[in-house]
């Protein structure tokens, strides 16, 4: 729930009188492995493996597609079952399943369709996420090894969810946010992540959202709310891959008539710390109002995150 960054960004806007594009000469460093791995209750582990590249490396599609690592050895174990994950590449998937694959991996469907992108998962369903279990990860690729451990916490359901019109737009009677009441369990160390998906039809006759979208700073922990029952709200997150044709005025809002599925995730504290620092990193991008900081990875030998998720779902029909 970081609410300070917009201010700092705005300060820069208020004070800056002019800016220009410059060329920056950055040192070359050895690429590192980046893990984006999740295991959720009832699902197989999914690991996306990429490499870092120089900040000003080429930005064309081929250059971006080349960061995905193929042929890695990825092993996940719950302490009893140890499974070497299968490599699944988008070129093997029929076009009709691309959107589903994108929703499952969080990758850009256009990218999956236009380049051969490989991820690692368990096609044989030998290893399925269970609440309370701990999962270790081993990755070997590019002559490097990374390891990590995560647990799937027990899900915490929201007491209730509802839609409320935005208070900052009094003239408008259609736009608002999703609210929820949460009773945080009486033990310290709970952390959460919020997702929402609009399942009513959009103008194209399909669901408005293809997948669950986590808004910016969608994670929080219970340091200040331990054991409390309280209300909170989230705005609507942006689909990072959306074409820019959305009505700007509705950006960030849910609208009367939307049917919204809220997916309320429980995650571990280390994973929370990764996501929170990752959001800070994405938000700051080198500005002077914050000390530059890397995302706090829970992966040894690499970057990124290995995170266990458990979910509780709610559906809200947006009415004024």
């Amino acid at each position: 729930m970081n609410r300070t960054l917009p201010l700092l960004a705005a300060l820069a806007v208020l004070l800056s009188s002019c800016e220009k594009e410059i060329t920056v000469d950055l040192p070359e460093t050895e690429p590192k492995l980046v893990v984006e791995g999740t295991i959720e209750v009832g699902g197989p582990p999914i690991v996306i493996l990429t490499r870092t590249q120089s900040y000003f490396a080429p930005t064309d599609l081929n250059s971006i597609a080349a960061i995905f690592v193929k042929g890695a050895v990825v092993v996940v174990s719950d302490g009893i079952t140890t499974d070497t994950l299968d490599q699944v590449c988008s070129s093997q998937i029929p076009d009709s399943l691309i959107d589903e694959a994108a929703a499952a991996t969080g990758l850009d469907p256009d990218l999956l369709a236009s380049a051969d992108i490989c991820v690692y998962t368990d096609l044989g369903n030998q290893l399925i996420g269970v609440e309370g279990r701990t999962y270790s990860l081993y990755v070997a690729a590019d002559d490097k090894v990374c390891t990590s451990v995560t647990s799937i916490p027990h899900a915490v359901a929201l007491d209730s969810t509802w839609f409320r019109l935005a208070q900052d737009e009094p003239d408008d009677d259609t736009l608002g946010f999703i609210w929820a009441t949460l009773s945080d369990p009486d033990t310290m160390g709970n952390a959460y992540r919020w997702y929402a998906k609009r399942i009513n039809d959009g103008s194209d006759g399909e669901d408005k959202d293809d997948s669950f979208i986590a808004p910016f700073f969608s994670v929080f922990e219970d340091r200040y709310v331990n054991g409390l029952t309280f209300d909170f709200s989230y705005n609507r997150g942006d689909d990072p891959y959306a074409e820019e044709d959305e009505d700007d005025a509705e950006n960030g809002y849910f609208k009367v008539g939307d049917t919204v599925v809220v997916r309320f995730a429980s995650i571990g504290l280390k994973e929370y710390q990764f996501y929170n620092s990752w959001y800070n990193n994405v938000a700051s991008q080198g500005d002077l109002f914050s000390n530059p900081a890397n995302a706090r990875s829970n992966v040894d030998g690499g970057l990124g995150v290995w995170a266990g998720y458990s979910y509780a779902y709610d559906t809200v029909v947006c009415q004024p």
Binding site: S16, Q53, G227, N294
Partner: protein
């Protein structure tokens, strides 16, 4: 008028320096601060040493002082009654002089006889007085401003004791009233900006009024306003200092060789004296500038006995931000302003007693409303308040005392809201202090000072309050932090031989963090498992140190000397900063069980030489400085992480060092005057938990730093000024690599401060037009036309900041947009510049 001599900045006349008694008692092992801390000796033992030394010094004085007599008194401005700080009384027969102290008091002890006293002060007419000394004599001098008696802008070169005479190293005086003809951003005269033009003092980016002295951080400067500590000396995120030039009389900076009378900070002392108020008549002055207006009123409460001064300044709402808040930009509702109020009164109870009461109150308020739906709104107020009550007492012609009680407060709040969700963060520091300083003018060869100080600190580290709807989140009222700080000092400036002048001093400091205090007990996963309570007065951590200060001058010949200094100090307050600019979110915290006192040691040496009968003063100084136990927030810590945690939970600790060489050439006299300062320096930091433990440059590390300041007096009505600065580009941390998580571009930082922005350089120009000081009056009876002085004086200052419109880098950021699969993805580096060419007009008046 343009001061004929020293353009607002002078290297000062033989004043009391810091000093150090090198009498090491084995406690100090300068290369091992950890050991140093462990081997602290009981305070009593230090105390004994100090008292023994004190007695020795006093006794030796008394014996020798028999059969000699003392001349003492006050030196003031005849028109206003203001004390003339640093005015010198020079005894021609023995070629020795003494300066007046900050209250205008001087004292000189001589054998019986007949003497010629010459009283001198820059810009004032000399007073020459014959004295037949047969008994202790009280002699007050009222000096006349040369400007009021000299019709043309003639050059009156004052030649007091200077550059090569004193033990001073790294001491600079700024005469605030002489700054108005210098160019300033938005036309706002700022005393701290002038201090930044001195070699060895650096800025942190465009427009910033923060001081970074010889590699030290902004928290290592002791900033005193009439003896009360000012914790945050800047307005508007550092663009302006809190010192309203109309209310400030004098500013003294010690960038090295800190005298024993000062302590508590390891890098520098900035001692600022407010005006006292005119005790002869009612006067006012003020100005109207582009972004603020000022008004100062002063006058006698009881003539010759008591006076007051009140001075206020306020910025025009939104002038700074309005151009950026266009209609419909969505930022409407955002705004910013600050104001300052200074007030002071004094009362001359008797010839021996004077009372002063002064106060400062200033506030910044920043309102923000974001442009996008759901964007939060914020209000950020912050400010300082200080009060000091002082009592001067003259015990005898040779012993002068000043007792001071001070109050300082700095508080900061950040109140944010967003659709039913409210967030606020407050922090602050409050001090009560008592101080007694004694100056003993034992003989012309000795100038002894001793005294003591006590400060009661109350720190409010970041306190977070969060509410969502009606539910208040359970954030503990954070434990306030209470601490006692005490000090005793003694110093003597003595002329060992005609060539050797030594200033030696010792300062004994002690600090204790005490209850009541609630400590969080934290398990190895970082989760709080419980608390431990300390009762009121319980000692949680304490530190004691003996700080040696020593400086010496060896005179080579009439116009050249070499000087050296050594000083060591401990600092018990620390500023923890979240960002690379001075934001008010920075939090003051005390030393404690985990936060060790910051220890600073500085060695300096220099060669000083005057040319052409002191028309030119030059110096070369080299220094080396060590700093131990510096603090920083750990990587990625955000202000809200400080809730429900120990105040030191998010800190990491390290050391630093700095060394450099400073060249200074000043033309003191003549129509064309000014100076050139150049610094070569290197400032590094070593933190085990930052940059992988590798040494990295500090943000204010600048290899080259050049300042050129030129003034030209064309006539009595027209004066011109120019300032040119050049500095190596600022060290910044930039991302080196990129990667992707959930479709978002992530930056990977590798080296802290590993990139240099483009060099900073800028030229500012100014022209001041004084309206005529006289008007023609026709005598109605004789018809004769006479020129009579006007009561009302006014002037226009036209200035251009950044005259050749250099786009200096303020910060660099990397921007990305688009989605790779759509073929529109790109990343660019952008450099933001803050101030392009900025003309300004200021109208000043006085009556």
């Amino acid at each position: 008028m343009f001061p004929e001599d020293e353009w607002g900045v002078k290297l000062v006349v033989g004043a009391w320096r810091n000093g150090a008694n090198n009498g090491s008692n084995g406690v100090f092992t300068p290369d091992d601060p950890g050991n140093f801390a462990r081997r602290q000796q009981p305070m009593l033992r230090h105390l004994r040493h100090l008292l023994a030394l004190l007695l020795l010094l006093v006794a030796s004085r008394t014996v020798r002082a028999q059969e000699r007599f003392t001349i003492s008194g006050y030196i003031t401005d005849s028109a206003s009654g203001e004390a003339l700080i640093g005015a010198s009384v020079f005894v021609q027969e023995i070629s020795k002089g003494v300066p007046a102290n900050v209250y205008g008091f001087y004292s000189i002890t001589l054998d019986p006889g007949t003497y010629t006293l010459q009283v001198r002060y820059l810009g004032y007419r000399d007073i020459v007085r014959r004295v037949d000394l047969r008994s202790d004599t009280k002699l007050n001098f009222d000096m006349v401003d040369a400007a009021t008696v000299i019709r043309e802008a003639e050059v009156v070169g004052r030649k007091g004791k200077g550059n090569t005479e004193s033990t001073d190293m790294g001491r600079v005086d700024v005469d605030v009233q002489k700054l108005r003809t210098l160019p300033a951003v938005f036309g706002e005269v700022d005393v701290l900006k002038v201090v930044q033009l001195i070699p060895g003092v650096k800025t942190n980016g465009e427009g910033n009024s923060g001081l970074y002295v010889r590699g030290g951080g902004p928290d290592q400067n002791l900033i005193l306003l009439d003896d009360a500590t000012v914790y945050n000396a800047s307005h508007l995120f550092g663009f302006f200092s809190v010192f309203n030039a109309d209310a400030v009389k004098n500013l003294e900076l010690y960038k090295g060789g800190m005298p024993a009378q000062y302590g508590g900070r390891v890098s520098s002392v900035l001692d600022i004296t407010m005006k006292e108020g005119n005790d002869q008549g009612f006067h006012g002055q003020g100005g109207i500038g582009l972004i603020s207006s000022r008004l100062t009123l002063e006058g006698p409460l009881v003539k010759d006995r008591s006076s007051f001064i009140v001075s206020g300044r306020r910025t025009y709402i939104d002038v700074l931000t309005k151009p950026f808040l266009k209609e419909g930009s969505g930022f409407a509702g955002s705004g910013y302003y600050f104001y300052d109020l200074n007030a002071k009164a004094n009362y001359r109870v008797s010839d021996k007693d004077r009372l002063y009461l002064s106060g400062y109150f200033g506030r910044d308020v920043f309102d923000f409303k974001g442009p996008d739906p759901g964007d939060p709104t914020f209000r950020i107020p912050w400010g300082n308040a200080t009060v000091s009550a002082r009592w001067n007492h003259v015990f005898g012609p040779k012993l002068f005392m000043n007792a001071t009680a001070t109050y300082s407060d700095y508080d900061f709040a950040f109140q944010g809201g967003q659709d039913g969700f409210n967030f606020s963060l407050i922090s602050g520091i409050r001090d009560f202090g008592l101080k007694v300083d004694l100056a003993q003018y034992a003989s012309v060869r000795h100038n002894l000072k001793y005294g003591g100080q006590y400060i009661n600190h109350l720190y409010t580290p970041s306190t977070v309050v969060v509410e969502s709807g009606d539910v208040a989140f359970n954030i503990d009222e954070p434990s306030k932090l209470r601490a006692h700080e005490g000090a005793l000092y003694v110093q003597d400036e003595f002329e060992a031989t005609d060539r050797l002048l030594v200033n030696a001093g010792l300062r004994l400091t002690t600090f204790a963090h005490v209850g009541s205090y609630t400590e969080y007990l934290v398990n190895d996963q970082g989760l709080t498992t419980g608390t431990r309570e300390y009762a009121a007065g319980d000692r949680i951590a304490s530190y004691t140190a003996l700080e040696p200060r020593l400086s010496a001058r060896w005179k080579l010949d009439k116009s050249s000397s070499i000087k050296a200094s050594f000083n060591r100090g401990q600092q018990y307050v620390h500023l923890a900063s979240f960002s690379s600019v001075a934001l008010p979110t920075d939090v003051w915290i005390p030393s404690g069980a985990n936060v060790k006192p910051l220890i600073g040691t500085q060695y300096a040496a220099g060669y000083f030489r005057d040319f052409a009968d002191r028309m030119f003063e030059t110096s070369v100084e080299v220094y080396y400085k060590d700093m131990y136990n510096l603090i920083e927030y750990a990587e990625g810590v955000q202000p809200q992480d400080n809730g429900n945690a120990n105040y030191d939970a998010n800190l990491v600790f390290g050391d630093g060092y700095s060394y450099g060489a400073e060249l200074f050439v000043k033309k003191r006299t003549g129509r064309l005057n000014g100076w050139v300062g150049y610094t070569w320096s290197k400032t590094m930091r070593i933190f085990p938990d930052i940059n992988g433990g590798e040494e990295f440059p500090s943000r204010w590390d600048r290899r080259h730093d050049l300042s050129v300041v030129v003034g030209y007096d064309l006539s009595k009505r027209w004066q011109f000024g120019a300032v040119f600065v050049y500095a190596t580009g600022q060290a910044v941390t930039l991302p080196v690599n990129r990667y992707w998580i959930e479709g978002q571009l992530v930056s990977e930082y590798t080296e802290r401060n590993g990139y240099r922005m483009a060099p900073y350089h800028r030229l500012d120009l100014s022209a001041t037009l004084n309206n005529r000081d006289t008007k023609e009056v026709k005598d109605p009876t004789t018809g004769e036309v006479k020129e009579v002085p006007r009561k009302w004086h006014s002037s226009w200052t036209f200035a251009v900041y950044n005259a050749y419109n250099r786009m200096n880098p303020y910060f660099i950021y990397f921007d990305s947009e688009g989605v790779p699969s759509q073929g529109n993805f790109q990343v660019v580096a952008k450099q933001v510049s803050l101030f392009s060419i900025l003309p300004s007009i200021t109208w000043n008046f006085r009556f």
